[in-house]
Subunit: 321 residues, 6 copies
């Protein structure tokens, strides 16, 4: 049975509550040769240390993302005019009860994309997924990292595992996937039971901007510093939805009050236009803890903003500028 006639390129001007929800109403495709950017769901939360539910993230972000449209109201850019973009579905899993095997499956899937020069825009899932993604996108050497989050995620281990969702960027540093001196962590806050993670980040040269500093210097200064740090290195952007204040993103596992506003986050992302992206992710959306779909809507919009930036990186097809 084939599906040649199925409307897999949704009509973006159709009523938004209609049809099967692909990410952003992008076409559904795994024809990687003819894609520049693949939006991929990673419905995994086996590495959580706290509240459950991030496995349900991709589903609900897809659902909410139908509210998005094409032309950006500030830049007037249209990512779909710049690049060939598709929803490539979710990573298929065969070993969800074993973190390391699951991570290997994620790495393998993303590698199919990067081998075909398709940039991954991933939607989690818990934050542990950034590590196996980096194992593919940074396979040829460490990348710069822009990390927007309430937590540095450079803790060592918890309950005996070094691969839980509080540790990916410590492991990525150890594995040479990211250059810690080209890493900036923005929005950090919330009490901890030890300063270990904060100290690891700072000791290894990461630029840790606690939320208080962000609020004091303002987003424009944050942008300036991030751009200066990253320069034209290949850069990976990871956006933990808990970087935002819980009023914007209640549906997450480890909420910390006093976070970024969505206006700040969108201004920040727009200020990071023109960088040399190799991939990005939006993680830690936990729909069972959401209220009114707000977190999913926010994640979808953040994803659209990031996609705009990614779409401006040169396309294989010559589509993008």
């Amino acid at each position: 049975m084939t599906d040649k006639n199925f409307p897999n390129t949704p009509n973006m001007i159709a009523p938004r509550y209609t049809q099967i929800p692909s990410f952003l109403r992008a076409p559904m495709s795994r024809d990687f040769e003819n894609l520049d950017i693949g939006i991929v769901g990673i419905a995994y939360d086996g590495a959580l240390t706290n509240r459950a539910g991030a496995r349900h993230g991709p589903r609900e972000v897809r659902n909410a993302s139908s509210l998005m449209r094409t032309t950006h109201h500030v830049t007037k850019a249209n990512p779909y005019a710049n690049a060939r973009i598709a929803d490539v579905g979710d990573v298929d899993f065969n070993s969800v009860f074993d973190i390391e095997k699951t991570h290997a499956e994620i790495t393998a899937f993303i590698k199919q994309m990067t081998d075909a020069n398709v940039m991954p825009l991933s939607v989690g899932g818990d934050h542990s997924i950034s590590l196996p993604i980096l194992r593919s996108v940074a396979a040829s050497g460490p990348v710069a990292l822009i990390h927007i989050d309430a937590h540095t995620d450079t803790w060592d281990q918890f309950q005996g595992s070094k691969f839980n969702h509080g540790s990916p960027f410590r492991r990525a540093t150890e594995e040479g996937l990211i250059d810690p001196t080209k890493t900036i962590q923005i929005g950090i806050r919330g009490a901890q039971n030890s300063p270990e993670g904060w100290e690891y980040s700072e000791k290894h040269g990461m630029r840790v901007m606690f939320i208080e500093e962000v609020q004091k210097v303002g987003i424009q200064e944050v942008i300036k510093e991030a751009r200066a740090l990253v320069g034209d290195m290949p850069v990976y952007l990871t956006f933990d939805i808990d970087s935002l204040d819980p009023v914007y993103a209640p549906g997450t596992g480890t909420p910390e009050i006093g976070g970024l506003t969505t206006s700040e986050a969108m201004t920040l992302i727009r200020g990071l236009r023109g960088l040399n992206y190799v991939g990005a992710d939006v993680v830690e959306v936990s729909p069972p803890f959401d209220v009114g779909g707000l977190t999913s809507l926010t994640a979808a919009t953040i994803m659209y903003e990031i996609l705009c930036n990614m779409s401006e990186v040169g396309s294989k097809s010559g589509k993008a500028g």
Copy 2:
């Protein structure tokens, strides 16, 4: 761009929270020549007289329906082994502000299916959609009707329209699409401002079983009577989710307490196995009024039960028995 590699036949044993939600995790296809049954969303609620939101029904029923599986626990039947089944997407709309034009678009879409001998299993949307569906499935003569609902939907008009969701089976009678003497309405209840609709049904020979009678005689008697009435005529099954008690289906526009239980409804549908189905629908799911996704889960299970029955009608491919 093609999507030849996209996993549009979801792996039914994958974790159920993964991948893009097609109805029941069926493949997505409009290749009608190679289908026996097409599950179609009709995301329309412009004919509602009361609480809003049925336009959001197909989306959430798709989402919840991933919890369904293949092999029935009572009959041990597997509809996917019997027939070629796909999610054919939603009807595409171009005139949602005009009931009659929208109805014409529904009729035209369903006609594409019936012309290819694909039986439609539709998911609404408000109950007005049964009329334009019947205009296609009953194009060659009146069909029998099994109508499970709290309301007879044989009222004449409301707010000047004869095509609102309280009137489809009066219109269908007038248009010769259903045979009222081969029509049974099961689960009727709730006060009305006039007995007009009840009287229309009875005057035209429909068998109206109020919920009190259903509860008194029991479901097995209801089955017996419905089977005797319908015989081997072509039959259309329409299931309004408000036939169920609101505890099972709070997410609907016109809830009436004191309704069917889901056990009764499933027993009833299973008792209607072997009839000569020409189509069916499940309507009036309004997700904004739902709590905890219960109504969508219920609708998805009811849809699976109906699909089991439909899959046993002879298949073009010789697959079904």
Copy 3:
């Protein structure tokens, strides 16, 4: 300023989500001389011993009650054709921090109604309100009581008060407002910290039907026994929403699983047609604990069923039969 043109008799066939919600869309009036039945809100919950919120009951029951209509689907009766019915607003309070003063205000308000031969159908509020209502409706001698509830509400005192919501029918017995030998309590269940209340009821001659007995003998037997007990005495009907299983009425202060179904409750009330009603109440709806408005919808429908019965008691205007 007058409101002579205000549409205080809502058009019952207008869309039900429109206009200001009076109870059942009845006219709003305190012209007691021209009324037979007054539906009155008693937004008081100062006598609760457990979960909060019954003060918000009348508001939300009014809101949900717009879904009700005029003609009963079983009896085909129309209460508005039988009697002059109005929403008389809420009892006005001046001392909500003092149970006994509030009770006195309730008694005084109801007395205005009973003095004008207007039967009160009250919507609570916590169950303590039945006591001050009875002080008016039973002013001339003890009445029979049909009491549908999970609890006998014949406990003595709690936290030093003899007027909390667990004690009204003990006080009513002591004050000679009800005849305990003409009292039936239906649906009783749930563990208690002492059998004191159950014992009080039985010792004073009340007929206590635990839910297990109700389920065993069936509703028709319950009806038969209640009718035999009450005979043609003046009778007051009090319906605690927690008599229902919490799936039908989650929004209440002291839920007990394993209760009546709404079908059972409605059958019971319909079976109590033709009694010599002097008033009735529906109490313990706590909207902050409700989900999806289900409890309010249920309360509104129960209220409509009770109103049908009350409307058949002879009207001053000769309207009723």
Copy 4:
């Protein structure tokens, strides 16, 4: 039957959860001769292009508005001391399935008010209602427009209708009801599938302030510019609740993250005191998508702030200053 004794002027110091909820606990009246301002519900959402439910707006805004009081904490003004204000109920509908007929009914109802020099403060309902309101309030010539919204609502058509909720101010321009050069649109944001609406506004001389400009220049500058633009022309104020960030107003059909805060909105409205108002509306509250009643509470407070401004326009009775 009359309702002469009904407490239709609620006691504003009574507990706020009591009595029937009129808007702001204002008296209920259609005695237009003795009114200066009529608050009117317009429970219509037949012109929505996206998520459902605005028909339920007036009900829930009324409910939440009981939390409002009389004396403003900044200005110390009391609108009820300035003007004769009533809840005039909802517009009565007879043709809700036909946008144009419904619009005609709205125009006719508002005309009854404007003919009696009663200023309408309308509560929607979808944004399409502003057009038929303007057909009455601007009957004698174009008015200035202060339009607070995420969307310019100057798109042309959708699904074949020129009267959907994305087009009222394009139609109002074409019909000469508003002067586009005296129109300011504040808070605009969110991607679109084409820049058509933005371009129409700007091409016709409307002042379009995207949210980024609002945030950059600050509310005081916005006020200054709006006042300068409008001068002492008759002015209509239209407030779409989706102008606010979705954290303040999740219950709306087309949420766009990154919007106004309620502090900004209230400061803006207070800064627009003393203008020559001819009417105002608050629209697009969709309670089924609300969480915790927050959107309704916000809408009620915004309505109170606008009412304060409107109450200072000269009263027929000489009450206002």
Copy 5:
């Protein structure tokens, strides 16, 4: 620091919303020598195959269980008079990312209890926890099993793990912890992707009662059969909350409509009084999917009913009869 004065034996007649919520307001203690029954939380959901959140079960069941009281309304028994009962806290975890290590920690904790002749009443957590509990309570030989559930949980493996929540009773059979010929599974239903689990149960001699059979023969017959099967063997009772219809227990990972009512479940448990219990559990409560706390309330009541039965097994202290 000691806590000698802390009120760890809550006053059962204090208002139920007060104080720290231990299970059923029982004292908090791990003084196993002076206990007969220990209620233990097992906040683990790492073996789930479907929807997330059972890790949050013990917290919310504790919270809801404050609504319970001492004296049963049917039996008039008081479990606290029969046995020494305490909340022993949750099992402490050190390896939550490894199912088998976590299971070992559960076994070790329960062994501390069984070594001291304390019967465990466990609250999950996903259903995988029954296996490690059985490894302690059935250490000296296979026990009989009364298993109330929608699923047989005798599937082999999923995603590479033999210890997921769909397999505990297959493993328990293999390990000789339960006697399959003394095992009854009650309430089974819901489609499956293969009949493998059902077939395993039946092939090994388990008595599988699908819900249709339960409904047909009635609960009294189920009781009779279960009692006959189990006799006076040591018996373990495992209650999966998804045995109940989702209207009673929406907060669970794998809901299946058409399940047991709470009345049926309570009648069933009461009918199993006097058996030779060695332990019991209530599992699969997932609060993030719950609505209105209903599932937790139900689980708490079921737990109380089971506790009544367990308390009648002979006490070390001679307290019980």
Copy 6:
């Protein structure tokens, strides 16, 4: 029965969803001789004038507070290293239907603590509880007051009671418990039916900062003024959760839009480090009106921030600095 082995000092690095929720996972103890700070729940809401439910506050704040940890991300301070801190349970009540008797019970309980030099950090409950707390902590003379709230709570009486939740600081002034000239009220807003309360505050020398002034001068100025006013006097801090904007704290009885952000509130509290605290409270959390547990999470974090300040006041044990 003793509980000597119960883990009443929860392991702060255990998974946060495990174990019985004491406040902030502090040990549970009433051994006042060995405590510096006692966190106490006051589950009372009998003095509310508006929406119900604050009685449920302590329970849910305890639950949410498990998400808190030890080391502050800005100050790097650890309150548990500074002082001996415990959850002392809830105040036990015997007269909840009588405000004045309940207040006396609160005073007596707090007196046990202050007699042992244990500083109370109380969690309400409605705001009336501050008065009986002050009767103990200010027993030896008036204290300074930092009062963060939307309302001045210096109204006189409501519904005949002078002890409702709108009046505590008027009574405290009259009783000489606070020095009004050393009192600052921050965040005041929202219309009132009379300016009486505002005027009382100002007339008696309290510094009333309306929210507009707070937003204009900024939090650093507010801190400066508060510190200057209070100096080194003994000071009590009272934090009404409704001081925050309702998006951060929807679960409260009297929400007023346009309030403080949580960032502002935390900055404010951190700016009040080093004062001479004698106690503090966080009040008016009403969980039944909360959404997604956000208000409880916010209250828990605010409580943690206040605790950090309190822990730096000299300890009896010499622990604190």
